[in-house]
Amino acid sequence: MRAQTALSKDSRKTERFAPFALLTAGFGLLVSAVPMLAHHSFAAEYDSKKPVKITGTVSKVEWMNPHARFYVDVKDADGKVTNWNFELGAIPVLLKQGWTKNSLHAGDTVTVQGSMAKDGSSTANATSVVLPDGRRVFGGSSQPGAPGGAAADQ
């Protein structure tokens, strides 16, 4: 278990997840057809210029609205454990993408990419998650331009 907080776009060049990508075509399909928007402005809470990438152990999953959330314990080099709070999309959005209540469980090891909260807390908006079975799925993020996220504001 390790943590990696990426503050530059360099990390996006990493092809670590490439073997899983093709397995997620089905999720990509469903995502493509979903108009999305959070019930709050993304920019009011998160900073897209502060990306985060973390691998850790899920400690809790909240399958609730207005956003599903999951919490990830991450241990740093000194052994200190930080519990990260990741926001996913709303349940209707996630269901359309293929998520179910059983997609994540406490104890799962996941790798999450997203954007950090502007207030400096260990809170982030998840743009993608590598599930324990290797599938890399979108998080229903409201981040403008995020794959499988953002969008129709009327």
């Binding site: 075509a25 990509g28 019930h39 920019a43 009011a44 207005p66 926001e87 209707p92 909260a117 129709a152």
Partner: protein, 263 residues
């Protein structure tokens, strides 16, 4: 009919799956970690006008009285064209302030209503009967609107409310919904166009075929705009999902993290 819809939706899904799975490499370069996400889709979503999922083919369904039956679960709306807005100076200033603050004071973020005419990004269900059309919102506050099509007029001395009072009539195959009695709290849309309690909303609902719903909205608010302005919206019929439960206050952790809350 229901079986037919399911088959049509399934066929479309399979076709889309195949097309996306075979997305050529130039499109992949838009997002190297997600090869199934095409450049066109990325562009559309980023712009807030991404393509709607296609609606099923078929003729306009009709009620026993011959009027179009608007019943169905509809996807999030898209604005396809707009004339306006013609903002008064104070409204322009407020709109700009909302943008600068990243829309942190949005009522929706506190699980309060968003409109109308603001449309939730989730499903909206319409239930048509000859004398009453109901609009049910899946997201945010699970609210409803009632369009009375029974020849009655707006009650006098309406108390200002989030959704106002709606009376409707048919103009040919178009349901014309007239709404007044608003408070001044909600936003007209996500960008934060304001309105006052003088807002008079006219929405024209039409269903040109089974899978399409068009809504032409005229916003007449002499308290905030110099003249009426129009948004033309469209959406498509959802064929793969039922409405889901959405209890906004069950786990709304966002307000304490929004701009201003932590400064």
């Amino acid at each position: 009919m229901r079986k037919h819809l399911a088959l049509s939706a399934g066929t479309a899904a399979v076709a889309l799956f195949v097309s996306l799975a075979l997305t050529p490499s130039p499109a992949r370069s838009q997002d190297p970690l997600n090869p199934s996400f095409s450049a066109a889709q990325a562009k559309g979503k980023a712009g807030g006008k991404g393509a709607l999922p296609p609606g099923p083919p078929g003729p306009t369904p009709r009620l026993p009285d011959g009027k179009p039956d608007l019943t169905g679960i509809w996807n999030g709306q898209r604005t396809v064209s707009q004339d306006g807005p013609y903002l008064q100076p104070w409204a322009q200033k407020l709109l700009e302030q909302r943008a600068v603050s990243n829309y942190a004071d949005d009522f929706e973020a506190r699980c309060l209503p968003g409109g109308p005419p603001r449309a939730a990004p989730y499903h909206t269900s319409l239930v048509s009967t000859p004398k009453l059309v109901l609009m049910l919102f899946e997201g945010n506050t699970h609210m409803f609107r009632q369009f009375f099509v029974d020849g009655t007029n707006h009650p006098k001395d309406l108390k200002p409310s989030w959704y106002g009072d709606s009376r409707a009539h048919w103009d040919g195959d178009t349901l014309v919904v007239d709404t007044i009695g608003f408070n001044d709290k909600s936003w007209i849309d996500m960008p934060g166009h304001p309105h006052t309690s003088q807002m008079h909303l006219t929405e024209r609902f039409s269903r040109p075929n089974l899978g399409t719903l068009n809504i032409d909205i005229t916003i007449d608010d002499p308290g905030a705009y110099t003249k009426p302005w129009i948004q033309k919206r469209s959406t498509t019929l959802e064929t793969n999902m039922e409405m889901t439960e959405y209890v906004c206050n069950e786990n709304n952790q966002d307000p304490v993290h929004l701009d201003g809350a932590h400064k």
